[in-house]
Symmetry: C2
Subunit: 552 residues, 2 copies
C-alpha cells in the first residue's frame, strides 16, 4: 500500500531529484522507510543538519540540480539554517523536506512543536505545509519546479507525519515544467554594446553561472574586443579557472582593496552579479563600492541566463571570432621548509591534480590560493557565498557526491571547520574522495584584524581570549580519526606536498593537518596592503612582487 512518503519520494525522482542528505527523526520515519522501495534515490546520512544543508549546496553547485534535505521539525531546520543561508546567497536550488508533527497533534503544542514555516521563509522562496496525502505529490512537483527555475531557489516542503503515513491511491503526479530563463533584453544589450564601443573605462562584474567556462569565454571575447576589464564577484558560487581558461580577477574581501580594483571605472556591467558592496560596514567607510560617477548596467539579472546574454552581446560586437587570452599552464615550484599560509597555497598549486574541485574555506590562510593556482590544471573553486562559516566541509561532501570521478580538495580553516566538524564522518561513511587540508592557525585569525578595522582597538586580554583557539589546542588528527578519516599532521612544506599527492591517489577521504602561525595575530593594520593585495590576484605591481618572493 502506497503512502504519502512513497508519493513524495517517487515525485522527487520523477522530477530529477535523486539524492537526499538526511538527518531524520521520528516524524520522518515513513520517508526513511520509503527509501527501500526507491532504488534510484541515494540517501546520505549526516550527523548534523548543517552538514546536510551544506552538502545539498555543494551538490547543487556542481550539478545545477537540487538535492533534497531531510530535516527533523523546527530544530532540525534551525540547525540547517546557516548553510541554507549560504546556499540562498549562492543562488543554488535545494528542496528541503521538513518533517512535522501530525496535523492532529499540532494543537497540543508538544515538546518539539514550533513555528516551522516562519523559520523556513528566512531562507526559502517557496514554503508549503502539505495539508493532505493526496496533495503531497503535486506539492513536491511544485517544490522542485520552483527550485529549478530561474533564478534557482530554495523550496521548503513541510510534511506532517500523518500526511506522510496516509494512504494514496493514485500514482505520483508528473513533474512540472521547469521555468525557463528570461530572454536577453535586446535594448539593454544594444545600449551596453554602444558603451563598450565608445571605449570608456568599462568593467564587467561576473557572478553566478557567468563564471563557468562558456560565460568566461564569451566575456573574455567581449573584454578583448573593446578593452574592458573582467572582475568576478568576491565570493563566487563556483568559478572555473586554471590553465586554458580565461583569468578573471576576483573582487577583494576588504572594501579598501575592492575600491582600488574598481577605481576609475565609468561603466560597470553586471552579469549574474549584484552591484558591489562592502562585506561588513566600518565606521566612516562607505558600504556601496561603486565609484562616484560610475554608471551601473545590468546585462543579466537573476532571471536571465548570463551565458545567453553574454553571447548575444558578443555577437552584437562581432567578437565571437576572437580567440581570448587563456591562462598558461604554470605551476609554482614545490615549496620547501616551513609551513605557512603561503607555502600551503603554493603546495596546492604545485600538486593540484587535473579536474579538481576546491572547496575554499581557508579564510585568511587562503590569501595566496588564487595566485598559486592560476596556472594549475583546470579546476573549480567553491567559496563562502553567504559568510556563514562552517560551509567548506559540507560543500566538499556535496561536490564529491555529485562528481564521484573528480578529486575534491577542502582547504579548510580551523575555526570554521569546528562549526560542522561532523562532516568528516559522512566523508568516511560514503568513502568520498575528499582531501581535507586543515589549516590550523589556532585562532579566529580574521577577527584579530577585524577588531582593529572596526575601530575597537587591539583588544585587551579578555577580547583576545575570545579570538584565540589555544588552551587547549585543537588536534584535528585526533578529530579525524575519531570519525574514521585517515589523518596525519605534516610539519614541513615538503611533507605537505607528499601527503597531498598520496591523498589524491588513494581512494576515500584523507585529512592533513597543517599547523601554522596565525596570519594576522598582532599584525599592524598598515601592513595589510601587502597581505591583501594578493588576496584576489590583483594585477598590481604588488601582486607581482608577492609572486616573485614565492617563486623558486
Amino acid at each position: 500500500m502506497l503512502n504519502g512518503a512513497h508519493a513524495l519520494v517517487q515525485t522527487l525522482i520523477d522530477s530529477g531529484v535523486d539524492t537526499v542528505f538526511s538527518n531524520p527523526g521520528t516524524s520522518e520515519m515513513h520517508f526513511v522507510a520509503a527509501l527501500d522501495s526507491a532504488p534510484q534515490m541515494r540517501a546520505v546520512l549526516t550527523l548534523f543538519e548543517g552538514v546536510a544543508s551544506g552538502a545539498a549546496d555543494g551538490y547543487a553547485r556542481m550539478t545545477d540540480r537540487p538535492a533534497a534535505t531531510l530535516l527533523h521539525l523546527g530544530p532540525g531546520l534551525g540547525n540547517a539554517l546557516a548553510n541554507l543561508h549560504n546556499a540562498r546567497k549562492a543562488g543554488v536550488p535545494i528542496v528541503n523536506i521538513v518533517g512535522d508533527h501530525a496535523t492532529t497533534h499540532a494543537p497540543y503544542d508538544a515538546q518539539l512543536q514550533s513555528d516551522i514555516e516562519t523559520v523556513a521563509r528566512n531562507v526559502s522562496s517557496w514554503v508549503r505545509t502539505s495539508q493532505a496525502t493526496d496533495k503531497v505529490s503535486d506539492d513536491t512537483a511544485e517544490a522542485v519546479a520552483v527550485a529549478r527555475g530561474m533564478p534557482r531557489q530554495i523550496s521548503t516542503l513541510i510534511l506532517p507525519a500523518d500526511v506522510s503515513w496516509g494512504h494514496v491511491g493514485a500514482a505520483a503526479a508528473p513533474p512540472l515544467p521547469v521555468p525557463v530563463a528570461q530572454p536577453p533584453e535586446h535594448a539593454t544589450v544594444a545600449q551596453i554594446a554602444a558603451i563598450l564601443s565608445a571605449h570608456t573605462n568599462t568593467a564587467f562584474l561576473l557572478g553566478g553561472r557567468a563564471l563557468l567556462e562558456p560565460g568566461l569565454l564569451a566575456a573574455a571575447q567581449i573584454a578583448q574586443s573593446c578593452g574592458a576589464k573582467l572582475l568576478a564577484e568576491v565570493f563566487p558560487t563556483r568559478i572555473q579557472r586554471g590553465a586554458g581558461l580565461p583569468e578573471v580577477e576576483r573582487l577583494a574581501y576588504f572594501a579598501e582593496f575592492a575600491s582600488t580594483q574598481l577605481a576609475g571605472i565609468d561603466n560597470l556591467i553586471l552579469v549574474g552579479a549584484r552591484a558591489p558592496v562592502s562585506f561588513f560596514a566600518y565606521p566612516g567607510k562607505k558600504s556601496d563600492l561603486v565609484p562616484e560617477g560610475c554608471q551601473v548596467h545590468t546585462l543579466a539579472g537573476p532571471s536571465h541566463d548570463p551565458v545567453q546574454c553574454l553571447s548575444e552581446l558578443a555577437e552584437h560586437l562581432a567578437a565571437t571570432g576572437i580567440v581570448p587570452n587563456l591562462a598558461p599552464a604554470h605551476r609554482p615550484a614545490r615549496p620547501r621548509g616551513k609551513l605557512t599560509a603561503d607555502t600551503i597555497c603554493q603546495a596546492v598549486g604545485a600538486v593540484l591534480p587535473n579536474n579538481a574541485i576546491i572547496s575554499d574555506e581557508a579564510q585568511t590562510s587562503g590569501v595566496m590560493l588564487p595566485a598559486m593556482t592560476a596556472g594549475a590544471p583546470r579546476h573549480d573553486v567553491l567559496t563562502l557565498t553567504g559568510g556563514a562559516i562552517g560551509q567548506g566541509l559540507p560543500v566538499a561532501i556535496g561536490a564529491a557526491v555529485a562528481c564521484p570521478d573528480r578529486p575534491v580538495l577542502a582547504l579548510q580553516a580551523d575555526g570554521s571547520a569546528m562549526y560542522t566538524i561532523q562532516s568528516l564522518w559522512t566523508m568516511a561513511r560514503e568513502k568520498l574522495d575528499v582531501t581535507v587540508v586543515l589549516v590550523n592557525n589556532q585562532s579566529y585569525s580574521i577577527l584579530n584584524v577585524e577588531l582593529q578595522r572596526v575601530g575597537a582597538g587591539a583588544g585587551g586580554p579578555k577580547a583576545k581570549a575570545l579570538l584565540d583557539l589555544t588552551h587547549p589546542n585543537l588536534d584535528f588528527v585526533h578529530l579525524g580519526r575519531g570519525m574514521g578519516v585517515p589523518s596525519k599532521r605534516v610539519d614541513t612544506a615538503e611533507e605537505l606536498c607528499t601527503a597531498l599527492e598520496e591523498a589524491f591517489t588513494r581512494p576515500g577521504p584523507h585529512l592533513i593537518e597543517a599547523v601554522i602561525p596565525p596570519a594576522f595575530s598582532g599584525l599592524k593594520l598598515k601592513a595589510l596592503p601587502y597581505a591583501m593585495s594578493a588576496l584576489n590576484k590583483m594585477p598590481a605591481p604588488l601582486a607581482k612582487a608577492v609572486k616573485r618572493r614565492l617563486a623558486p
Copy 2:
C-alpha cells in the same frame, strides 16, 4: 569614550547578568572589546552557537538567572536555535545579544544580511532591534526584565554594529524591576482543596520549579494528607531528587506507558506543568493523554510561583505539619562484568557523589537512571525539555559554570552528542568539573523502535543505514583528546566505576567512553513493556522485578 557596547555590557551587569556565552564575529567586535573594561562579566568562548545557547540554558536552570549569549547575525542565531527551542520549552530566562550589520549597511543586502527578527521570534517572547546608541541601555534593561519575569522568557536584543560603536554620554540606565509572580488564586485553591478532601482518585502533575525541594516537600505533604498521587512532567527542566527528598514518579516518554500511569485518575491538578500529551503522534493513537472523564485543574500556571500555590493549598488542607515520606539512602551494588545500558546506570547510582548535577541526554541508554539513583545522595537532574537533541553537553557546561563547587555528570548518548560535540573544547578551556559518560551504542537507537511504532515496519537496508552509526564507528576517546579533554574507554562495569570515581575527584573535565549494544536494535515491539516500565521508576510490580534483577 563610552560606546553602545559599553552601555550594553554595563546594563547587563547592573541587571544581574554577569556571564555571556559567546561566539562572536566582526559585527560583535565592540562588544568583545568592551569586555576588558567590565571585570564583573565572565565571557565563555564556544566554538559553535548551539553550544552557547545550550550553555545559557543550563546556567539558567541552575541559577534561575539569565546568562547572555553573543551571536553573529542571522546564521549565528540559526545555529543557536535548536537549543534556544529547548530553553523556551524549559521555561528558563536567556538574553540573546545578536550582532547585526550597521543600520546604514542593511539596505545593501550584503552577504550576511538576513531577516534576524523573524527567526528570533521563533524562540523569543521579546525581540527588539536597538535603533540608536542612546537607547541601547534602556533596551538592554527591558530585555533582562522581561527574561527574568514570570514566566521566565527568552529575550533577543539585536544590536546593529553602528549602534554598538556609536558614542554615548550618559551612564547606563538603572535596571528595571523584575515582574513578580501572580498571587495564588484563592478560589481555585479552595476548589482544589475540596476535591482533595473528597478523596477522589487525584494526581498532581508537577513541572518547572515545583520540582525543586520546596515544591516537592509541599506537594508531598499535600499528597500524604489526602492520598493523592504525585507525578512529574516527562522532561523536567530541573528536578531535585535522591535520598532525603520526596520521590516523584516521572511520566513516561512513550504514550502507552504514560497512559498506564494516568489510568483511573479522576482529577489531575497541574502545578507548573501542562496537561500531558504524547511526545509524537502515532497512527491510531490519541495525542491527549488525559484519561476520558478526568477533570483537569490548574493550581499554578506559567505566571504563578508554584511553591506559593502549593504552600497555600497545604495550609488550606492543614497539611503543613505533616512529615512527608522521603527517599531512603540506598545505592545499588557496584556493577560487575559486561557494560550495558543498565550497568552504566547502576554504576552511576553506585558512585554518584553528593550534590551532583546530572545532565541526562542518555536517551534509550538512560532508561534505568531514575531507578538506579532514587536513593543516591541528593542531586539535580536536567533533561531534554524540547526534544531537540544536542542539548546535554552544552547544558552541562552551563551548569558547571553556574555551580563551580558541584560535580557535573553528563550522561550522554552518541548520536545526540555529535550535534554539539564542540562542547568538549569549552569544557577544557574553562577547566569545568564535568564528567562526560559517552554511551556509545553505535546507533540512533530510539529511531529503531520509533520506526516500528509509527507503523513504518522494521525497515529495509537503506532505512536501517540511516539509523546506524557504524561504518565507521565513532571513537569518542579520539574526539575528546582532539579537544583537550582527558579521555578513556572502559570495557567493563568495574572499570567504569573506577573511572567515574577518578573523574569525580580530579579537577577539570573527563570523558569516559562506554561502548554497549544498541538498546532497541532488532527489539520486538512486544518486548517494550519490560524495558519501558522501568523508564520512570513506575511503582508497578514490573519495576520491582527490574530492580530485583539488578540488585547484587
